[in-house]
Structures are given as C-alpha cells and as structure tokens.
Amino acid sequence: MAELQKLQQILWMVNIAAGVLLLILVAVRRNYRAFPAFTLYLLTNSTCSMLVLLTYHRWGFSSSGFWWFASGMQILATSARALAVAELCKHLLARYLGIWGLAWRVLLSCAALTLIYSCIATNYQWRLALIRANRGLELTIAAVIVAVFVIARYYHLETNLAERSLAVGFCLYSCFRALNNTILERFLDHYVVLWNFLGMLAFLGSLLLWAWALRRPQTEAVPAETLLPAGVYQAVAPQINLRLRLLNEQLGQFWKTEATRN
C-alpha cells in the first residue's frame, strides 16, 4: 500500500508536468485560438492539481479539510472540462448549420436526462453528494460525446481527426472516472489509493492522446458547407415523410392482413 502511495505521488507530479507541457504545446502551436475552452480547461486542471498537491503535503490525505478541498477542485476541473467538451461539439458539428441547430438541442436534452438519471440514482445520500455530483457530470460528458459521434455517423458527416481524438480522450476519461467514482462510493475505505492511482493513469493516457491530436496547428474555424436554398428542405422533407407515413400505414395494414389470414 505504501509503495502504491509513493507511486501515486510520482504519477501525480508526472501528470502535472504533462499537463503543463501540453499547455505549452497548445501555446506554441497557437491552438488556443481554435480551442480556447480546452486551453482554459488545461490551465484550470493544472492549477487545481498543483493546489491539491500543496494541500495534500500540508494537511495529509486523511484530513477532512483536504477531502473537501480536493473534491471542490475536482468539481471545478470537471466543469471546465464540460465547457471544453461543449466547444468540441461545436467544432465537430457547427459547420453543418441545420444539423447543428438540431444537434445542440438533442445534446442538451441528452445532458439533462443523464443528470436527472444520476440525481435519481444517488438516492439522496448527502454524505456522498460530491462524489455523486462529480459522477453525474462525468456521465453527462461521456453521453454528450457519444451522442455527437452517433449524430455524425447517422448523417455521414466528415470529422477532423484531431477533434475526434480530443473527444475520444474526453469520453474515455469521463467513463473511467464515472466507473471509478461508482466503485469508490461502494468500497470507499479500501480502494481509495488504488482509485486515485488508476484515475491518474487514465488522465495521463488522455493527456498523451490530446498531445498527439494537437501536435499540429489547428484551423480556427472550418468553412461551412455550401448550403441549399432555405426552402429546399422545407419542401422536400414533409413530402418524403408524408409518403413514408402512408407507406408504413400500408405496411401495417399488410401485416394485419397476414395475421388475419394466418
């Protein structure tokens, strides 16, 4: 256990160093222009990590002051991450104006539903409120990213590899944290060191993926697709759907006939 704790501290510092290096890379490649919220997240996260590390050395791991401070910082970093994810969603979909108009509403609904689900599932045990709030946020982030990929696949949209890699990094990390928080909640006292260690390892993996994604300068704004006149969709979509509705009714009748005949 003591060895794991030592390893965890080393990894903690490695993560802070990697975060700062990624921040420098973002600055050198001028990617902060394309991803301001992502840059803000890296800054927030590095600052929070350093503050938590200092508090850890001052108060120790088992003090309740450290626990509340670390959890508060975690919520702050997760909120910054949520902002970065929102920016990423816009990057991935906003060039398709009509789809983006629909997608942001779907994504917001998806986020709201996941949060509601998380709140209901917490069962109003306030002792674990911070962990559960954090888990709710993590699940929401992961669900939103997955929804973006589903929309992109459904409409066969072209997506930038760098943006895709950033999103995958966010999603995997959020999934891992949500799982970790769930396990921590259940076996709170026994696995807290292991939980922290694995969480840091997952974060390091995400940092490396993001560094790889941002190794080249990214363009600030992707030009929007050449669009059809506004009336085209309004004219065609209802006609297609009307016909589809009628055909489905026909098909329904057909099944009924089959059932009657059988």
């Binding site: 979509a237 016909r243 055909l247 489905n248 006939t257």
Partner: protein, 192 residues
C-alpha cells in the same frame, strides 16, 4: 453488488459500445463534398425486377417440379431460388439506403432542419430495418410468402417515385427563384 451500481456500470458499458460503433466508418459512407449534384444518383431501381422474383417464388413452378423432378433437383431449385430472393431483398435494402442517403444529404446541406421530420425518418428507418430482418429470417427459414416481399417493394418503389417527383419540383422552383431574383436585381430591388 446492488442494483444502482450495476445500472451505472451497465450505462457506462453501453456508452463505450456506442462510442466504438459511432467511431467506425459506415460501409456506404460517401463524401458530402459532392454537394447537390450527389442528390441525383438514384438511377437504378431493383424494384423493377419484382416480376422475375415473383416468378422465382411462384407456387406453380414448385408444383410442376414436384410432379416431374426428383427430390434432389427440387431441393436444389428451392435453395437457388431462395438465394435469388435473398439477393433481391438485399438489393431492395440498398435502394432504401440510397434514398435515405439522399434525404440525409438534403438535411446536411440545409441551413435549417426540423427535428420532427428527422425523428420521423429515424423511426421509419428502424421500422424498415425490422421489417427487412423479419422477412429475411422467414426466407432463410423457408416460409416467407410473396405478399411480404410485395409489401416491402411497394415501400421502396413508392418512396422512389415520390422523391423523383419532389426533386423535379425542386428544380422547377429553384429555376423560378433564380429568374425572380435576377428580374428583381434588374429593377434595383435586390440591393440594400
């Protein structure tokens, strides 16, 4: 392990599976860069081969074979005809997907998209998929009836006809709009 814990783990597992699915490139993926001209790619319809398929599954043929041919020949004919019907079913699905692609291209290239229309198309696609799988399984099991294939063919052919009519109408509207715009500009009304 309690229920909420299992639900959370299950939810994350589902998210990861959907993520993997979402990251995979669709087989029929086409670049949208082709723009509006890609709307006009539905020039081939497998529905036109329905009479031949109807013939392939006709009961009279099987009756004729039962009276004249050996059991082995009958089995072979049945298997080959079933394969033809399955290939036809796959081709129908290809037609349906091609039409859906057209609808998607219109949505992607439009400045404003209505949620109602998009969700309805999603629902109808799911329904077609279910219908397709049911008939396919019935064919594989050897007890699909021709009316079922007919129903699916009607769905696709009707949609094709309607889409073609809509596209033609759109072309006419676009030409009219261009004409109107040019005449308004000529009179100095277009400039602000």
């Amino acid at each position: 392990m309690n229920l909420p814990l299992m639900l959370f783990i299950g939810f994350v597992a589902v998210l990861l599976l959907v993520l993997v699915w979402g990251l995979r490139r669709p087989q029929e993926r086409r670049k949208l860069r082709g723009g509006p001209q890609s709307l006009d790619e539905n020039d081939r319809r497998h529905v036109t081969y329905l009479p031949q398929i109807r013939q392939a599954l006709a009961k009279a043929d099987f009756k004729f074979l039962r009276e004249r041919a050996s059991e082995k020949v009958q089995r072979r004919v049945r298997r080959e005809r079933r394969n033809v019907a399955l290939a036809y079913l796959d081709a129908l699905r290809g037609d349906f997907h091609s039409l859906l692609r057209t609808a998607r291209v219109i949505a992607v290239l439009s400045p404003d998209v209505a949620a109602v229309h998009e969700f309805e198309r999603l629902r109808l696609t799911a329904k077609f998929g279910l219908q397709y799988q049911l008939i396919r399984w019935k064919l594989l099991a050897g007890f699909a009836t021709l009316p079922q294939l007919d129903g699916l063919s009607n769905l696709v052919s009707g949609l094709s006809v309607r889409m073609e009519a809509a596209m033609k109408e759109l072309g006419e509207r676009a030409a009219l709009a261009a004409e109107l715009a040019s005449s308004m500009n000529g009179r100095g009304l277009g400039a602000v």
